[in-house]
Symmetry: C2
């Protein structure tokens, strides 16, 4: 596509990290989509990413239309530098694109004994509580926190009940979805796995007003505002779609999509060793909690992805046939070696 | 109780603010509980609140066992000073007590054209996903964001499906609670409004694993870690109970309860006027969203509390009889004028 070797390698690393962790929806399966957006001039493969505003603890980065996969790590590096200088660093990003898994970026500061925070807005698929319209994206939040002998705490979640992929899985299985996952085009709760395609919407975490969907709506809104109103990216219903067959708004309110990245030096609060030993204590206590009847052991955020990563580092990453086909199409087009399916 | 006039006035202001906003559970009804904790030497009425660690953008505050109602505003003032100096300020607090409504503190920076963030841990009442044990509090998060002509965006919510008060209301009505609000002592979903008293637990926002309770568990954990592991307060199941008849843990892992306060100068990202006008656009777009069939208009976080405040500033704050009685008991004991019920 014309990316520099450095950017191509970084983008590949972020995608493969998602696949290793079992978050297949955000891995190499997306490559074809990125290429399609590039063909439509909606991704700039050689962006001039730069800081456009800053204070000692903050910055705004303009991604120049680049892949979020490279723009977000650039912004997080600046957050880490600022945290090194004054304790914390906070960077809001405009003019970017889909940044892969939020957890990748949140984990960057952990190696520096810092807490990492990462969030992004996304194409509108989610209706606020009481709304029939899609005004928010699945707007994920990731927070990564270092420990000493334990692996880091890594929370990484969409601010909706479920991601769109779960509806697709239920649709393929021809099963109804539970109430509280999505709504129909009039805003009524729906158990039809196709309801979002038919003009409905995903709903915020909480599912229904009675069960707290207004809280998920608050969370998704905070992500949108920190990512886009701070930076001057598009927000709410104006966020450009991440699929090439849908056109962006003809009256955008900002540039591209927005992210928000943060880094907090642990020793800006207490000595790092002390903090990390206390995190071990926190993690050990939660892990040893008495499980509910019939439930698996209590997990620490990050455990399922780590387990999957250990498996896949040994056995490889299984690819669905359509993904292998899409990669081989790309290989042909760019005159690269095609890949064989595993096994 | 021996509070300075300044601290007594501030604490009263925070409590009355809750009542004005209709959050009666966090208002003047709590006064008797605070007095009981003071009688047991669990609240220090003349604390020496001080900064024990700091960098240009961070600080740790030791509340010296004071009322959270005065410790949290002290800490937020420091966050605001730091934001004035370097763009953002982040203060983690140990050795504090219940701080009232999170939204009060989050709103403090808004008058300075800053975004305010406020969170606190709380006595364990919540079971993580898959756990039968109570390990977290309702651990609320508040975020307040200034606008220009619109009132500020104010999100303020517990990271559980519902607060304990909602179970008490259903119990008084002798009605079952919806599944996804709480669980019994074995960790099974329960529709018994008494299940938490009987050894069960509230559940994280999301309600069930299928509907995303692991996301609420992540949120509650993040609040706990930022509030207490950063500062050296008690965390998880060690957080001291806020009722005087339950004793704190005999092997605490820190001091008192913990809070986390943040302030971000809007113009650390873009000119304040520009930001606030864009927030107006954000708010207007969401407010004018098409409502779902049969639903009320779409609300902006903070709307319900503002509406209630407007009403109560005119009509006064209605007090339940037991609250009036508790205040009159206190009045008698401290040789103050008793109050008459309204109306």
């Amino acid at each position: 596509m014309g990316c520099s070797l450095e950017q191509a390698e970084l983008a590949s690393k972020v995608l493969i990290d998602a696949d290793l962790k079992g978050i297949d929806s955000h891995g190499i399966a997306r490559l074809q989509g990125y290429v399609r957006l590039w063909e439509k001039d909606r991704i700039n493969s050689s962006p001039d990413i730069r800081v456009v505003h800053q204070t000692p603890s903050t910055a705004v980065v303009d991604g120049d239309g680049g892949l979020g996969l490279v723009v977000a790590p650039y912004a997080m590096k600046i957050a880490i530098e600022k945290a090194n200088a004054v304790g914390t660093g906070w960077v809001s990003v405009r003019n970017s694109n889909h940044f892969g898994i939020a957890g990748y970026h949140a984990l960057m500061p952990v190696a520096h004994d810092m807490v990492g925070i990462s969030m992004t807005n996304a194409s509108p698929l989610v209706a606020p509580t009481f709304s029939a319209e899609r005004l928010l994206g699945t707007n994920p939040i990731a927070v990564a926190i270092p420990a000493k002998h334990q692996p880091p705490f890594v929370a990484d979640f969409a601010t909706t009940t479920v991601a769109n992929g779960k509806l697709e899985i239920m649709k393929r299985k021809q099963q109804p979805i539970p109430l509280g996952w999505a709504q129909d085009k009039n805003g009524a709760p729906s158990n039809d796995a196709s309801c979002v395609e038919l003009g409905g919407a995903l709903v915020p975490l909480g599912g229904t007003r009675e069960s707290g969907s207004h809280k998920g709506y608050c969370l998704g809104s905070i992500v949108d505002i920190f990512s886009a109103v701070f930076s001057g990216a598009n927000f709410g219903p104006w966020v450009p779609p991440f699929v090439s067959f849908l056109e962006p708004s003809c009256d955008p309110v900002g540039k591209g999509i927005g992210h928000f990245l943060g880094a907090m030096r642990v020793d800006a609060f207490r000595p790092a060793e002390e903090f990390k030993l206390e995190m071990d204590r926190w993690i050990n206590r939660f892990r040893s909690s008495k499980a509910a009847e019939g439930a698996p052991p209590v997990l620490i955020p990050g455990d399922p992805e780590r387990e999957m990563e250990q498996q896949r580092l040994v056995s490889g990453i299984p690819l669905l046939d359509p993904v292998t086909e899409s990669l081989n199409e790309l290989a042909k087009r760019f005159e690269l070696k095609s890949i064989d399916p595993i096994g």
